[in-house]
């Protein structure tokens, strides 16, 4: 085998190996068929379905999710949600610190009562992230909800302890597992007008999301 032929075959082998490891086989897949988007209409969201969808799997105890929530989400809301171009949908995925699990139970119990209170509680978890642990999270959740929202905080804490809305928690976890998303949160799936574009991990910028969704100005 001559050198050029060897290099050509080696290069093809490397590209083939990389392609084989990738998960891009479902690029272009309809959002209706994507396992991560199962039962999408029942999930907490900002904006209306039908256009672009930014589907985020987040853990309230995840520091990188906090940075995504604080730095990138405002731009998503301003440029995609508020302009009517699409929706931001969140699914909770407790995989980082242990207090994220009871917090997720509390989030689902809150969402079952009041969607606005859900978003307030999500913001609260990120804003006060370093102060939570498995022992105090439900007590502090109850206090916050009672003081700052219309929801009965003690009832939510009780539901969370009894896993009253565990079906919703498990549905999100199952969606992530069925889609093979891994556990590097936040995991953000981008759908351009109903078609899957790509999956992104980490606190990526709005500029990257805009490029992926064809929304970059100029």
């Amino acid at each position: 085998m001559n050198r050029r032929r060897f290099l050509t075959l080696s290069g093809a082998g490397v590209v083939g190996a990389v392609a084989g490891c990738s998960s891009d086989a479902d690029t272009g897949e309809s959002i209706d068929d994507h396992p991560a988007a199962a039962d999408l209409e029942a999930q907490p969201r900002r904006g209306e379905l039908g256009g672009h969808v930014v589907l985020a799997f987040e853990d309230p105890s995840c520091p990188t999710c906090r940075r995504f929530h604080e730095n990138t989400l405002p731009d998503i809301r301003e440029n995609i949600v508020d302009t009517g171009k699409g929706a931001y949908v969140v699914r909770t995925y407790p995989v980082i610190y242990p207090w994220g699990e009871p917090a997720t139970q509390a989030l689902e119990s809150t969402f079952a009562r009041d969607s606005e209170a859900y978003w307030s509680l999500f913001d609260h978890y990120f804003a006060e992230q370093s102060s939570f642990d498995p022992d105090n999270v439900l007590e502090r959740t109850a206090t916050f909800l009672t003081d700052e929202t219309e929801v009965d905080g003690e009832a939510v804490a009780s539901d969370a302890r009894n896993r009253a809305h565990d079906d919703a928690v498990q549905a999100d976890i199952r969606a992530a597992e069925d889609a093979g998303l891994g556990e590097t949160t936040p995991i953000i799936l981008l759908f351009e007008d109903g078609e899957f574009v790509t999956k992104v991990n980490g606190s990526v910028s709005y500029e990257l999301i805009a490029e992926a969704l064809g929304e970059r100005d100029g």
Partner: protein, 199 residues
């Protein structure tokens, strides 16, 4: 130089001066400076791309975006350009990448001039692997480290990792420093570009 069961560690001021002088002498040779710079850029790219392989394959390598958009998507993955890393994480990753470049520059010089032993080469590879893990943990919080510790039977419910997984990157710094020291030690007594390595 101190020796612990045959493992040499840089413990004296002279050891650090030896490392500094060796690095300076090797990197004044343009070829090896270029090797170090390219290796640093490649390793930083490896660190950041390893977090988002599907994204890179879907949009940078494949897909239908124009070239400028592909480059912008790739650029947004790097520290200080995009928002994937906070400033501390960004600094640490860049330092690990620079040290990786220096390590590979030194190893290339040593390999071409004198051959390379297993300890020096192995430490360099370990540094790159740990740097990649550090980048991974910078994004995922501490999931990987917590998973490893729970496998070892360490209770994770009480664990608090102040750097949110960047502990791996700090470990990479230590391993790369050791690797550079061992390479410098291996060149002690020789000359680089006509200059004696020993002070």
């Amino acid at each position: 130089m101190s020796t612990a069961e045959g493992l040499r560690l840089p413990t004296t001021r002279g050891d650090w001066r030896l490392m500094g002088r060796t690095v300076r002498l090797v990197l004044t040779l343009p070829v090896y400076a270029a090797v170090a710079a390219i290796a640093a850029l490649v390793s930083l790219t490896l660190f950041v791309v390893s977090l988002n392989v599907p994204l890179v394959l879907d949009l940078v390598v494949g897909g239908s975006l124009p070239l400028a958009s592909r480059l912008r998507v790739l650029g947004e993955l790097y520290p200080f350009i995009g928002t994937s890393f906070n400033p501390a994480q960004g600094v640490l990753l860049v330092v690990v990448a620079v040290l990786t470049g220096v390590d590979i520059g030194l190893a290339t010089y040593h390999f071409r001039e004198h051959g390379l032993d297993l300890q020096q080469g192995g430490a360099g590879v370990a540094g790159v692997v740990l740097g990649t893990l550090g980048a991974g943990c910078a994004a995922c919080g501490s999931a990987v480290l917590l998973g490893l510790l729970s496998l070892l039977g360490v209770s994770t419910s009480l664990l608090f990792l102040p750097l949110d997984g960047l502990e791996f990157a700090l470990l990479a710094l230590a391993v790369l420093t050791l690797s550079i020291y061992w390479l410098a030690e291996g060149m002690r007594g020789g000359e680089i570009n006509g200059c004696p390595v020993d002070l």
